[in-house]
């Protein structure tokens, strides 16, 4: 028996026992990871540094040769009132939209985790805004907010609130409100899903213990649910803020930044300058202003996550 085992072990050692590439965790770890890392470096990191280089050049679509322009692009941007308007709009847009999304997202998540009949269809309907390509839902809203035929105006007229039309996208403040509302409407389902994930992760016995201890709905909400989901919500909100901050689609499709730049955000302005205006260098310079805030958000997220891990 021992002899047989020995021989077999010998055969093994000779034939296929030696560790191959496929056995070596360390090597495999790299080989598995490398394609993704290379892909991301090539198509995210490289373009990112290219964008920085562009912002110091005079590259345009018409004349793609690279000439050093120093800080000229930045000087021109700082001298442009539209830039400051866009920066302010971006901050307003992000701040209000995120506040609405977090609060309404929490409410929506609470509805969606509850048990009721027809839950499936409600979830389906609630998810529609997020799963639909934003370009299409923005078009649907364009009709709802039409200057003459807006169905919303029709309803308001029927109730006698207004006489003529609201011109939702035609007046600066109203246009901003509309853009924020549409963005909030579109992002809400995603926020709700993420918060739902947090709600589902709350240990059931804690909620039940609170119920047994006589805590009512609101008390449970504020002393159990919210503290438990706060970390998830905080991180999700920071991510949301970054994505909102850099979004241009809703603005671009609904108002194109108008009327007279009153809804222009940095991202849409960079697009209009860089792609439509063909001034790649200035577009890149505008877009780069998104970066410091991005960095701040990343640091905030990391700090928040670390603090969660400590507690």
């Amino acid at each position: 028996m021992a002899q047989a085992t020995l021989e077999r072990a010998d055969v093994e050692t000779g034939r296929r026992a030696r560790p191959r590439f496929a056995d070596r965790d360390g090597l495999l770890a790299w080989v598995f990871l490398l394609p993704s890392v290379v892909y991301i470096i090539a198509l995210v990191a490289v373009p990112f540094f290219l964008a920085i280089a562009f912002s110091f050049s005079d590259v345009t679509t018409g004349n793609p040769s690279f000439n050093w322009a120093g800080l000229r692009n930045y000087q021109r941007i700082f001298g442009d009132p539209v830039f400051w308007q866009s920066l302010k709009n971006t901050l307003v847009y992000t701040g209000i939209a995120m506040a609405l999304i977090v609060v309404l997202g929490k409410v929506l998540a609470n509805i969606l985790v509850a048990n009721f009949r027809g839950k499936w269809i409600v979830r389906f309907l609630v998810l529609l805004p997020w799963t639909t390509p934003v370009a299409l839902s923005a078009i649907a809203w364009l009709w709802l907010l039409d200057s003459i035929f807006s169905p919303i105006d029709w309803v308001l007229r029927e109730f006698g609130f207004i006489q003529g039309n609201m011109y939702w996208l035609g007046k600066p403040n109203l246009a901003m409100a509309s853009v924020i509302a549409v963005y909030t409407w579109r992002t809400l389902p995603l926020a709700a899903v993420i918060i739902m994930a947090g709600l589902v992760a709350i240990p059931k016995d804690i909620v039940e213990a609170a119920a047994v201890d006589g805590a009512g709905f609101w008390r449970r909400m504020f002393e159990v649910t919210i503290p438990f989901t706060l970390p998830v919500i905080a991180v999700a909100a920071l991510f949301g803020a970054v994505i909102t901050f850099t979004d241009m689609t809703v603005v671009y499709l609904l108002t194109g930044g108008g009327p007279t730049h009153s809804t222009q955000v940095l991202a849409s302005w960079a697009f209009i300058k860089g792609i439509e205006g063909g001034d790649l260098a200035q577009g890149a310079a505008v877009a780069l202003f998104l970066f410091p805030l991005l960095l701040a958000a990343v640091i905030a997220i990391l700090t928040a996550v670390r603090r969660m891990e400590v507690s």
């Binding site: 021992a2 085992t5 077999r8 072990a9 050692t13 030696r18 191959r20």
Partner: protein, 346 residues
């Protein structure tokens, strides 16, 4: 020749912060059932995983069939392992689970099914071939895991607490089955457990581990009767060995050896006043909790009276108990190691 041998084996985790295995030398004997026994965190599972090749040792050698297998992947070691969870492939049927190791060796379909049939017959699970693991009971899962280990015809079985997922009732019969199964197959087996009953019942030899080291290795009766140190003395036995401090030493005796003096006869008996605080009836035996004086310092101890002893005992009374001198074991109070016996006046 030893099927499995480890030499000066060390395994550190967290850059040396945790010494899971801290210098172990063990060799199995041909066809034996070696049990690694110890509390959780003592390094027994890490030792087993290192033998299997799932962990890379920090230092030392692992030999299987006389060859140093350090650096060989698990698949090349001709071992079979049964995990605590049984780790049945949930997406495969019972048959597919059992033939899975044979596929790895590129054995033909007919031969695979012949071997699976043989293993299944041995374990009585042939009728379960088409089921999925989730449709099996705990005991059936264990048998499927064993069958899967068996078809590899390994030179050694590594079993990691295979009974801990079964309920208490099933555990006793499963233990019996495991033992008779191994006796039929005759393959060397290393079995990890924290349960001393399993260890005493199954093991040809027991290696008691604590804090990454093997404290004692020997036949169950040796380990029980002659513990190498106070850890082994108190880890084995239920209730554990009583330890009475005296002059820098600890005097140990098993609870079942302290009996009312009228039952203990002979010249070397030592009589002790035993003040009983409380008593419990456990499966026929009586466990007496109380304090003894006279042997050394006054110490709380436990005595176990077998069902055959019918001397009436009531709490809060002092009785005269006795223990044979040859039942006493002596340990160094500081190191816990065994020392030579000293005279204890009666």
């Amino acid at each position: 020749m030893a099927i499995v041998e480890v030499r000066k084996l060390r395994k550190y985790f967290d850059a040396g912060g945790v010494h899971a295995v801290d210098g172990v030398d063990v060799a199995t004997e041909e066809g034996e059932y070696l049990v690694l026994l110890g509390p959780s965190g003592c390094g027994k599972t890490t030792l087993l995983r290192t033998i299997a090749g799932l962990e890379v040792p920090t230092e030392g050698e692992v030999l299987i069939g006389g060859h140093v297998v350090n650096g060989l992947p698990p698949r090349a070691r001709r071992i079979a392992m049964v995990f605590q969870s049984y780790a049945l492939y949930p997406h495969k049927s019972v048959l597919a689970n059992i033939v899975f190791p044979l596929k790895a060796e590129r054995i033909g379909k007919a031969e695979r099914e012949r071997k699976a049939g043989w293993a299944a017959d041995l374990l009585g699970i042939g009728h379960l071939f088409d089921r999925k693991p989730r449709q099996l009971s705990g005991g059936e899962r264990q048998r499927v895991a064993l069958a899967r280990a068996l078809v590899r015809e390994p030179s050694v079985f590594l079993l990691d607490e295979p009974l801990s997922n079964l309920d208490a009732k099933l555990r006793a019969s499963a233990r019996d089955e495991l033992k008779s199964f191994q006796q039929r197959i005759g393959t060397t087996t290393i079995y990890v457990t924290h349960d001393q009953v399993e260890a005493m019942g199954l093991g040809d030899r027991i290696a008691v581990m604590y804090e990454g080291r093997v404290r004692q290795i020997g036949k169950p009766v040796e380990v029980y009767d002659d513990p190498a140190d106070t850890f082994v003395a108190t880890f084995l036995g239920s209730p554990p060995m009583n330890l009475v401090p005296r002059d820098g030493r600890l005097i140990g005796f098993r609870p079942e050896h302290l009996l009312p003096e009228e039952i203990v006869s002979g010249d070397d008996r030592i009589t002790l006043p035993f003040h009983v605080h409380r008593l419990e009836h456990l499966s026929g035996d009586r466990h007496l909790y109380g304090v003894v004086k006279g042997l050394g310092e006054e110490t709380r101890i436990i005595a176990r009276l077998p069902a055959t002893v019918s001397v009436p005992i009531t709490p809060d009374q002092t009785y005269t108990f006795a223990v044979h001198g040859y039942h006493l074991r002596f340990f160094d109070a500081k190191s816990g190691e065994r020392t030579d016996p000293v005279r204890v006046g009666g």
